[in-house]
Amino acid sequence: MEYEFTKEDLKEIEKIKAKYPEVMPATLPVLWVAQNRFGHVEPEVQRLVAKTLGLPEAHVHGVATFYTQYYKEKKGKYVLDVCTCLSCQLCGGYDILEHLEKTLGIKKGETTQDGKFTLNEVECLGACGYAPMLQITNDKYINNLTVEKTDKLIDMLKKDEEPEYEEIEMPLRKVK
């Protein structure tokens, strides 16, 4: 498949490049632009990024493989990144992960046959106080998970209903 950036993408890439005195710093953000456009950064996409920025393909490949959020292969429509690290482990992150494995009928790291869900175990997402939690496709955090909340989330996603952003106040903060 031939991958091309759209005109808007290219405009955004120009904006990104303008932030830095050199082109190379655009590598990470442009990989993001590419992933947002194509859903992954498979080798062909990495090559497009390299070509667009005039950077060595090996460099882009090295960067893409260093950072875990870039999908080096196609993923399901919803990538569920379940945190099991420290606080999430203590608060039942593994229970949520196992529950999702059972519910979706896949093991962590796998994608459901219908291509709807990919399930991952991930490292700390910086939501330790709201454990256990997961992140959907590099975007929304779903916090304080219980089995019931997880089931509800899967039902929603199956219907392509996206959950809301969850705002969590600081417990002692009394806004006037």
Partner: protein, 431 residues
Amino acid sequence: MSSADWKNYEPVLIPNVKDIHKIDVYIKNGGYSALKSVLTDKKKWADSKSVVDEVKAANIRGRGGAGFNAGLKWSFMPPADGGPRYLACNGDESEPGTFKDRKIFEYNPHVFIEGALIAAYAMQITTIYVYIRGEYLAYIKMMEKAIQDAYDKGMIGKNIFGSDYSVDFHVTYGAGAYICGEETSMLESLEGKRGYPRVKPPFPAQKGLWGRPTTINNIETLAHVPSVINRGAGWFSSIGAENHPGPILYGISGHVNRPGVYELPSGIPILDLIHDVAGGMKNGKKLKAVIPGGSSTPVLRADQLEGITMDSESLRTAGTMLGTAGMVVMDEDTDMVDMLWRITHFYHHESCGQCTPCREGTGWLEKIMLKIKNGNGEVKDLDLLLDITTQMEGRTICALADAAAWPVRHTITRFRDEFEARCKKSAHAVV
């Protein structure tokens, strides 16, 4: 304000003001006055160095974990030579147990922006980048908006407040790599590369971004700057513990009733934080252990906590560190072997792979821990683990190897019986 008086503490970093994240509300509540003061009040601030001196006197100890005096760090910048100079704001917060800077992004982005602008002026910096971890997409968007708003209001850009000072401010972000929270790794990442920490010297103040003088500060650290400017160094350093003064964003997680982020003076007794601030232990369980400041800080047993306060001095005597003040609380049911295995897994996963001791050592630690966790460990494995930690500590370019080694060493040492019991069990099983 003393630490004991924390109940009467009025937050300044994230004040109790509705919609303070909106620039108009922020300005209406005195926001950007500190910036205006340093840029225009020549009587109070004769030059940019006077700002550095004030911040140095306040002793804002870096809130990213290392605890270095921010103003002192600023003073390391060489004199301006007309070339570009950078401030890189570290919003990569990824240390397990740490989730505080996101509250600034969400609830008071402008206090951070203002702090960064003052820092930039103080060091005669020409461009500011804020590097946010890629997972914080929501906060990245919030920051992009806040910075745009500040540009629109003329707080960022050319000739701010009519002064001759101009600066640019950009949001940039990662894509999943704990190591990018290490300051030089963050610079590499910002430069579009694999996040390999740099060899020091040269230090970033000499050669940072694109070989130019650069200072790196944590988000919370910078967010403290406006109040230091507004209220003076003396005010700041009188709050909380003398050795580690000022308000701190405590992140409390684990087995407590009310986990979350709290803005309170430094130096609060750990037990107060757990039992009063965070609402006590969940389900009435007994407290077993606490990791005081992120996963790399050595764990303390419940019996070690009496009288220990959340400041570097007190924690050092207890045999641990303040780190990021991201406290993880564990109850009596916590399996320390499982907990430690998960920490070793984290560091193994996040080692960048540049230096030998870390690349190889973190994996070895995890594999032995897994063996023990699965009941196949022997007591000699515990001593091997301790030995490996000495082979890693202090032998690498950055501190990730140390961060991986400390929890192993201290968790095993402080919970030796529990680890040996797990090993012994397996020995009997074989017989």
